[in-house]
Amino acid sequence: MENLAENRTAYTDLEPATDIPNENHYYLNMGPQHPSTHGVLRVLLEMDGEYVVDPQPVLGYGHRMQEKMAEHKNWMAFMPNTGRMDYAAALPYNHGYVALFERLCGIEVPARAEYIRVITSELNRIVSHHLWIGAMLLDMGAFTPILYTFDDREQVLDILEDVTGSRLTYCYFRVGGVCKDIDDKFVEKTRAFIKRQRERFDIYNKLVTGNIIFIKRTEGVGVISPDMARRYGVTGPVLRGSGIAYDVRKNEPYSVYPNFDFEIPVGRNGDSYDRYMVRLLEIEQSLRIIEQALDQLPEGSFLGKAPKKMKMPTGDCSFSVEAARGELTYYLVSGGGDIPYRLKIRVPSYSNLSVLPELCQGMLLSDLVAAMGSMDLVIPEIDR
């Protein structure tokens, strides 16, 4: 027993429990195993009653050294890792990575391949938003919406599985194209899904968007002002929820996005409700993009000629794509050869999380959960 007690003190030394600034405050560990941190995020909360005084995210529980791994192997061998950072929307990660090398080495991509990339990426974005809507509502105590969104999500996953071969951690894009062509069945199923999803919005709106409890829980909660968003480098739907119409697909168009007519939904108040609305509207915009892409889909090859053993030129290069959670940037420094000297991945969830301490000061615990849910954090992406 002696020993045990001693060990306990040693352990609690790790916690800053000794220097609580105010004796009425106390610390609450939310996570790393907690129902609403969605993965292994730990938030150390300094609390005053039910009010959060100072929330501090503690990271690293899911760290896998992805960036370091990239420095140790042939750059092609890193490809499957890209799909494992943001598991909820892996294709944009694939996209950014292959596009980076296409830019660096000046590789042409056939038009059909670019269209396929856009279609599948947008499908993946929709899937990710489905997951988010469900998880956010789960955070707020509604258990049913997640099953409805998962019903829709399964439709898309089936479509994606048919072409990519997997359901979650895709490794589908290749430098110079994609690894498998889409067929008429894919087009047909995707069109059927678009129709179905448009009808399903009705259920979302009735059950969630217009629900007084949901509105009360999210309106005016977790307001990120445009200024604050800029200061923290917040991106994606969180940034757009604050009213800043920044979307890499529009502002720095890549692939064939300029060919499509779509809008960037923005919020007005920057609260959780706006972030919800932005994502819901983004699903509709993605559907529009997919629809147009299917109409314009050119014939041709789906995988251009890429040299098998590729040597990179020396120099550096970066590429940004709009992932489901915001701007994703790959920055690569090459010293020649086929192993990158350094690969920096700037992930959206990380900067979105960094706003949390300022955002959630003085909030109720329940609001913190709702505000954190509205950020759409994917922890393996933050930790990498």
Partner: protein, 159 residues
Amino acid sequence: MNNRGYFGELWFGAKSLLIGLNVTIKELFRPIVTVQYPREECEITPNYRGHVELVFNTETGGCDCIVCGMCAKACPSDCLVVKGEKKEGEKRKSLTLFSLDFTKCSLCGSCVETCPKGALDYSQDYNIAGFTREEFHYDLIERLERRHQQPLAAAAGGN
């Protein structure tokens, strides 16, 4: 949006709650969409990428692998081991060992894509579970032979 007033809020709220109840009661009587796995199973797409598997060549009655080792080299996770030896009187090497450590495989497909002979393909096996890691160290030649005894299954696996 917030100034609906005392009664306006009540009216709006009550209406939204009733609409919500209406949605769920309707769903209650609609057919279920899930299947009771493992009693029923979903149909799985032929494009599903399981672990890699040697392709059975119906003409030669074996596999096409020429033991070039390209797949093992391309594998980012080093989970393939290919060994072969030259038997007397034969021109090419013949395969003696082809093992896959599925615990490390990331299902990236590099091996399948690099194989010059198309000797590798994905299996349709998704029902994999085991009690030890060693159960996932597959001997692909043995698996091929096992499938070979059931030629129909082998053809389906080959896609």
